[in-house]
């Protein structure tokens, strides 16, 4: 097995979705790893040493060498531990679509999520509508590019987009509760089915933080502001 069993360390934070992506990928591949929980308001020397440019989690350390940025880490994992299950498809065209949707998630959906927690009134309503539209675009796109994606619940193995989606939406109920909205719902039926199937996946249940813990965390992120 060469060096592949050599030390793998993951620096992360329990509530960072980017960290959860890497945890899931490592577990899916059956890669043993040491996990280091970082206090993001008091980052360790090691984290700052291994990710001096962005100073963020997650960082994967393999044989003492750091890899940063969750999408890049997942591609690295898939290349080094290239046994099944594969995180990315073999076909280059399908791979380009996975990367496209991963970028869409990271450049559009993720940056819109946190601000939504903080908005009130009309601005909040607009943000919710924008988010719903992005989910609709995602649903349409994935339906077109990966028609078999939505039969995941028939027992097919999960891949990179399942990981991204599962991590983001596993605690959608917590998000709904705290923002008093319904973004993931029957109006996007395929996504709704997909997300609910992912919620039942043992790996997701095993890895992702529970509802109450997430609600508590989201509530601390909301600064008290007057209604507008």
């Amino acid at each position: 097995m060469e060096d592949k069993l050599s030390e793998v360390v993951l620096f992360g934070s329990w509530y960072s979705p980017y960290t959860s992506r890497v945890k899931l990928a490592l577990k899916l591949k059956g890669i043993p790893f040491k996990y280091v929980e970082e206090n993001l308001s008091n980052k360790s020397e090691l984290l700052l040493k291994y990710n001096p440019i962005h100073k963020k989690v997650p960082v994967l350390l393999h044989n003492g060498m750091p890899i940063c940025e969750s999408l890049i880490i997942l591609e690295y994992i898939d290349e080094v531990w290239n046994h099944a299950p594969k995180l990315l498809p073999e076909d280059p065209y399908q791979r380009s679509r996975v990367r496209f949707w991963a970028n869409y998630t990271d450049q559009k959906i993720m940056p819109a999520s946190y601000p939504l927690l903080l908005l009130k009134g009309e601005k909040k309503q607009k943000a919710i509508e924008d988010m719903e539209e992005m989910q609709r675009v995602l649903e349409e796109g994935i339906k077109q590019d990966f028609p078999e994606q939505f039969s995941f619940f028939n027992g097919k193995t999960i891949g990179l987009l399942d990981i991204f989606m599962g991590v983001n939406c596993y605690n959608y109920k917590a998000f709904h509760e705290v923002t008093n909205s319904e973004i993931i719902g029957p109006k996007n039926p395929k996504i709704f089915m997909w997300v609910n199937a992912l919620k039942e996946h043992p790996l997701m249940k095993d890895t992702l933080p529970p509802h109450d813990k997430v609600v508590a965390m989201l509530k601390t992120m909301i600064a008290p502001t007057p209604d507008v």
């Binding site: 440019i53 890049i72 791979r95 990367r99 496209f100 869409y104």
Partner: protein
């Protein structure tokens, strides 16, 4: 003969990344020039999500987003490889490509800045990114980001930096100052003189001749 079509925009740094990649691989393709104010129905069909160029159409199937296209081409046509073979080196190359993409918002921030303060803020942001590159990537005085041969990171930054220099003239600012960024300066010189890149390098004068009147109309000088 590969069935390759490139929907692009002639002075877009994102389109030029794909042109360089195709040429470096010795691939012929049909170039379809898009009018950004009047996008073709094909473009809107091929990239319904972002409605942007570049889009590479291979055998009728569209690939969107410049760096996703570059990786796609590199995977299918391995001659003159743009990504290293070693997975760790690949991860490092992808990290810097991601860094280039994180720098992109500086461009519209600078182009659309309406006052001196906004302009200065955009210039500062650009310089911050360039400082990271100068300090972290070129310290060993390598010829290209890829070492002796140019790679995907050179392509990602070459296009952006060339466009930024064009914007320096357009917006009357100084960003890539030689004294502050000696290694980057040297690198850009190596890059623009590299074979294939040299013959397909954006014509700065032509771009300025096009952009200046448009800028004047939009932001009449006081």
């Amino acid at each position: 003969m590969e069935d390759l079509k490139l929907h692009g925009f002639w002075y877009s740094p994102f389109t030029v990344r794909v042109v360089w990649t195709l040429k470096l691989k010795g691939l012929s393709y049909e170039n379809i020039e898009e009018d950004r104010s009047n996008k073709s129905p094909q473009l809107l069909q091929y990239n319904p999500v972002h409605k942007k160029t570049p889009v590479l159409v291979h055998g009728g199937k569209p690939i969107c987003e410049s760096m996703v296209i570059v990786e796609y081409i590199d995977e299918l046509w391995p001659q003159n490889p743009l990504l290293p073979h070693d997975p760790y080196e690949r991860a490092q190359a992808r990290f810097w490509v991601a860094f280039a993409e994180q720098m992109v918002p500086v461009i519209p921030a600078l182009v659309y800045s309406t006052n001196a303060e906004e302009k200065e803020k955009a210039v500062e942001k650009a310089r911050e990114h360039l400082k990271v590159l100068e300090d972290h990537c070129l310290a060993d005085k390598r010829k290209f980001f890829g070492g002796d041969k140019l790679n995907i990171v050179d392509i990602a930054f070459g296009s952006l930096l060339e466009f930024l220099i064009t914007l320096e003239d357009l917006k009357q600012v100084k960003i890539l100052v030689a004294e502050k960024f000696p290694l980057l300066h040297l690198w850009l010189d190596n890059f623009k003189n590299a074979p294939i890149i040299k013959e397909n390098y954006p014509d700065r004068e032509k771009i300025l001749a096009t952009m200046k009147p448009a800028m004047e109309r939009r932001f009449p000088s006081s």
